[in-house]
């Protein structure tokens, strides 16, 4: 159909041309607005234009062009916003979009799917990190709990041990004194025995002489001879007794020597034990417990506490 259509027959050519020109001007405005990004712009019909089929067709085509651009911009930005906010169910509908619009929609949807997958992996990593943090926490807490308990127990047994060691060394000292006095007594006993021995020998000699003199005196010395013999027997018995005592004193002396050297070893051991106990105390409570003011060495219990607080800080980071 041309300008001279049936419905246009009432118009002059000049009027018809003016109608076309007016429409071209208004459509140019719409295109300019759209080019500036105003996708609200549309061609609007007035009854005169509606009556010209070509213009009506152009009007519809221009608006369809704008409609699809408008729809695409609205829907694609909403789809991307949703994906960015983690609402991945919101797709871009490809139906109604043709050609480049459709391929672009397809591209956006695959980007959305990729984002969803990445987000899934991030969530998975986050979940496993949190699970790891939980496991780590329970291990560290149990461990520091155990260390704290152990260090409390160790500290208690070290101080018990220290007390026992002190008592032992006192007792060793006392025993050593007792042994020393025992050794001295043995020496004194030996001297006395030697004296008794000498007296007995002297007595035996005297008894012998008395026996000889008694024999010489004949009948008159008979009674004296009996006494002299008794005295000799007595001296002999004394000699045998001192021998036995000497042997026993020697045995006692040897035993005392053995005990004394044993005591010496015990004393050294107790001394070493004291040093060990000090070491344990320092390790458990820190060196400051031994020399207050010097808190450079951390004790086991402080370390356990520190480990717990460091782990707590680390876990807070991990759970972010």
């Amino acid at each position: 159909m041309g300008i001279r259509g049936t419905r246009a027959s009432s118009r002059t050519d000049a009027e018809e041309l003016e109608l076309y020109r007016a429409f071209v001007r208004s459509l140019t405005d719409v295109c300019d607005a759209a080019a500036r990004g105003d996708l609200e712009a549309r061609s609007h019909l007035d009854p005169a234009i509606e009556a010209v089929p070509e213009l009506r067709t152009l009007h519809d085509a221009a608006n369809r062009m704008l409609d699809v651009a408008d729809a695409f911009v609205r829907e694609s930005s909403a789809a991307l916003t949703s994906a960015a906010e983690g609402r991945f169910h919101r797709r871009l509908l490809e139906r109604g979009l043709l050609g480049a619009y459709r391929s672009s929609a397809t591209a956006i949807n695959s980007a959305r799917a990729a984002m969803q997958e990445t987000a899934g992996r991030v969530i998975e990593a986050q979940t496993s990190r949190l699970r790891m943090a939980d496991e780590f926490e329970s291990v560290v807490l149990a461990m520091s709990e155990q260390v704290a308990t152990a260090s409390t127990e160790m500290s208690a047994s070290a101080s018990g041990l220290g007390t026992a060691a002190a008592a032992a060394s006192t007792e060793v000292g006392t025993a050593q004194q007792t042994i020393a006095s025992l050794t001295q007594s043995s020496a004194e006993i030996r001297e006395i025995i030697a004296m008794i021995d000498a007296v007995a020998a002297q007595t035996r000699l005297l008894a012998l002489n008395a026996t000889i003199e008694a024999a010489r005196a004949g009948e008159a010395g008979k009674g004296f001879a009996v006494v002299a013999s008794e005295v000799k027997d007595l001296a002999d018995q004394t000699g045998r007794a001192t021998e036995r005592v000497t042997a026993q004193v020697e045995q006692i002396r040897q035993a005392a020597d053995a005990v004394a050297s044993g005591m010496g070893t015990v004393g050294t051991t107790v001394g070493e034990m004291n040093a060990l106990v000090d070491g344990i105390t320092a390790a458990v409570d820190g060196s400051s417990s031994l020399s207050p003011g010097a808190d450079d060495t951390t004790g086991l219990s402080q370390m356990a506490e520190k480990l717990r607080s460091e782990a707590t800080g680390f876990l807070a980071e991990m759970r972010r």
Binding site: R42, N63, R64, R74
Partner: protein
């Protein structure tokens, strides 16, 4: 819920009640039905597909409230949700049954969004609609029937929309998600 929609002007001329004929009308899958309204819901633009499918001339729809094509079997709760969502500046996807001038009806999958001017101010609303898949409509229809039945148990429009909106919210809650997730579960499984 707040009815944030300003009252549209009364329909021009004799706004006759169109009786639905039960005849279903469709349009092509590659077509978009487009309309724009002012902030009150008064039509400022309708494209050629809109006019052809609804059976109206441009001059019949321009300046008319958008409920011009409202189908009586559409539950009020859906439009309440539409206006509530728009009032929050959000987009909405919804299956809507529309009434053409000759009493035929046509289902659409509508996307409705606010339009903003260069200064960011709200200047109106926009909707483009696609041809829905029949299976999607079959899935949404029972929900709408339920909402409509609820509405018909109440004497006033106000009570009706309150009751069916509550029912809609409960249904969505039971399915454990949002309305958006509900509509997208239908779109994702039934539309291509």
């Amino acid at each position: 819920m707040l009815d944030t929609r300003p009252a549209p002007p009364p329909a021009r001329g004799a706004h006759r009640t169109i009786r639905p004929t039960g005849v279903e009308r469709t349009f092509a899958a590659d077509e978009l039905i487009v309309s724009k309204t002012d902030p009150r819901g008064v039509i400022t633009y309708a494209n050629d597909v809109f006019l052809r499918v609804s059976g109206y001339a441009a001059r019949d729809v321009m300046g008319q409230p958008h409920n011009l094509i409202r189908h009586p079997e559409m539950p009020r709760a859906v439009f309440q949700l539409l206006w509530d969502t728009l009032a929050q500046g959000q987009e909405l996807f919804a299956y809507i049954n529309n009434l053409a001038s000759d009493g035929a009806h046509y289902w659409v999958l509508a996307h409705v969004t606010p339009s903003h001017g260069p200064d960011g101010r709200l200047i109106g609303y926009h909707s483009n609609r696609r041809k829905p898949s029949p299976r999607a409509v079959d899935r949404i229809r029972p929900l709408y029937d339920q909402l409509l039945a609820e509405e018909r148990r109440h004497p006033t429009a106000k009570a009706a929309v309150a009751a069916s909106s509550r029912l809609l919210a409960e249904t969505i809650e039971q399915r454990g998600g949002s309305y958006e997730e509900l509509v997208w579960s239908v779109i994702s499984s039934e539309e291509r």
